[in-house]
Symmetry: C2
DNA sequence: AACTTTATCAACACTGTGTCGAGTTGGTCA
DNA sequence: TGACCAACTCGACACAGTGTTGATAAAGTT
C-alpha cells in the first residue's frame, strides 16, 4: 500500500504524523529538503534516500515520518493549494462588485502569482497527479473550487444582462480554468510553444473577456 | 543512457530497429501488447517484463528489439502523431477558403476524433511527456505545427478585416491550442471537473470563435 | 563446412522501495 | 532512583524493476 497512511503513531489524514518532540524539526527538514531538491530536478529523479540524507537521517528513519516520497510532496502541495485558495477567495470578493474587467485581471494575476512563486512545487504537483490518485483528488478539488466560482460569476453577468447567453456557464468555466492551468504550466516549464511569462496574463484575460462577453458570430 | 538508441543493428532514429527476418513480427507483438495493456492500466504500471511476456519472449530478448519501455511507447506515439498531422493538414486545407465557422468546427472535430480513437495512447503520451525529453520534444513539434497553422489563419482573417486586432496572433493561438489539449485530456480521463465528451467540441468551437472574432469589451 | 548475422535467454549487477527487529534516549512517576 | 514507556533511530533484509553479459542456437552466405 504505497502513499497511504501507515506511520507509527499515524493518526492524521494523509501520511504526516502528530508527533511533538524533537522529531518536529526532522519533519520540517524533510519538507525543506524536498522543496530544495525540487528546484533542481523533477520529482521522478528524487529518491527517498535523497530526502533522508538531505534531512540528516537514514532511509528507514524517513519512513518514521512519512509513509512515502509521495506523501511528502502531497503535504507540500496541500500548503500551496491552501494559499492559492486564499488568493482565489480574495480575488472573487473584489469581483463581486462591478468593474469586472479590472477585477478579473486582478484575480488571474493573483492566482498566477501564487503558483509562479512556488513554481517547483507546482510542477511537482502536475507530475504527481499523473500517477497518484490522492494528488489527483486534491487537484480536482482545487479546480472544482475555481470552476464553481467562475460559473457563478458568468451566470450573474448573464442574469444582469451584461453577458450574452451561450454555452452553459459551467462548461465555459471548465474550459477557461483548464486553459489557464495548461498555459501557466507551459509558461513555467518554458516548453515550446509557450507564452512568455509577462504575456500570460494579458492573453488569458483577453480570452476570458471575449469568451464571457462576446458572441460567436464571425463578420 | 536510457531511452536512446542502443539496439543491436540500431540504425534508425529512435530505438526501433530495421530488422526484416521473423523478428519483425516480434516487434509488432511488442507494440500490440503495449497498446493492449495501455487500455487496462497506466504506463507507470506496465513493466518491461509485462511487455516481454505479452509478446511471448523473455525480458532480455525484449531489449534486442527496443532499448526501453519508453522507446516502445514513443514508437506508438509517433504513429498517432503522424495520423493527427494528417487530420490537421486536411482540415486546414478546407479552412483556407471562407466559411470559417463550419471549417473550424470540422478541424477541431477531426483532431479530437484522431486522439479520442486512440485514447489510451494519448494518455500514455501525456504521462511519458512528464519524464521523457524525447516525448516532450515530439509533442512539442505537434503543438508547434498546430500553433503555426492557427496563427496563419488568425492573421489572414485579420488581414481581410474579418477579425479585429487584439493580442498577437501567435499568443492567441498558443493559448487556444493548449486549451484544447487540456480540455480533451480531461474529457478522456473523465477527471472532475471535465467536459462531457459530447460537449467538448461545442464549447471549444465557441471559445475559439469568440477569441478570434470577438472583442474584449464588456457591456 | 567455415563464417556471419540474427535471435534467444539464464544469470548477474545495480538501483530503489518498504519492512523488521533490535537497539538508544529522554522523560515520568512509584 | 530505577523501572518503564514512548519517541526515535538504523543495520540488515526482502522485493521489484531495469539493463547488461556471455554463452548458445538457428539461418543464411560464401
Amino acid at each position: 500500500m504505497p502513499a497511504t497512511s501507515k506511520a507509527k503513531p499515524a493518526p492524521a489524514g494523509r501520511g504526516r504524523r502528530a508527533v511533538r518532540a524533537s522529531g518536529d524539526e526532522r519533519e520540517r527538514a524533510i519538507l525543506e529538503t524536498a522543496e530544495r531538491l525540487l528546484e533542481e530536478r523533477p520529482l521522478s529523479e528524487i529518491s527517498v534516500d535523497d530526502l533522508a540524507r538531505g534531512a540528516g537521517i537514514s532511509r528507514p528513519t524517513f519512513y518514521f515520518y512519512f509513509p512515502s516520497k509521495d506523501a511528502v510532496v502531497l503535504t507540500i502541495i496541500d500548503r500551496l493549494v491552501a494559499a492559492a485558495a486564499g488568493s482565489r477567495e480574495e480575488a472573487l470578493a473584489t469581483m463581486a462588485e462591478g468593474e469586472l474587467r479590472a477585477a478579473l485581471r486582478q484575480a488571474l494575476t493573483d492566482l498566477y502569482g501564487a503558483f509562479r512563486s512556488r513554481r517547483a512545487v507546482t510542477l511537482a504537483a502536475a507530475e504527481l497527479r499523473m500517477r497518484n490518485p490522492e494528488a489527483r483528488e486534491l487537484w480536482s478539488q482545487v479546480m472544482e473550487g475555481w470552476v464553481a466560482d467562475v460559473t457563478a460569476v458568468i451566470e450573474a453577468e448573464r442574469a444582469r444582462g451584461a453577458a450574452p447567453a451561450g454555452q452553459p456557464a459551467r462548461d465555459l468555466a471548465i474550459a477557461l480554468v483548464q486553459m489557464n492551468e495548461r498555459v501557466q504550466y507551459a509558461a513555467f516549464t518554458g516548453e515550446s510553444p509557450s507564452l512568455d511569462e509577462e504575456r500570460v496574463i494579458d492573453v488569458l484575460v483577453d480570452i476570458w473577456l471575449r469568451a464571457i462577453y462576446g458572441t460567436a458570430e464571425p463578420s
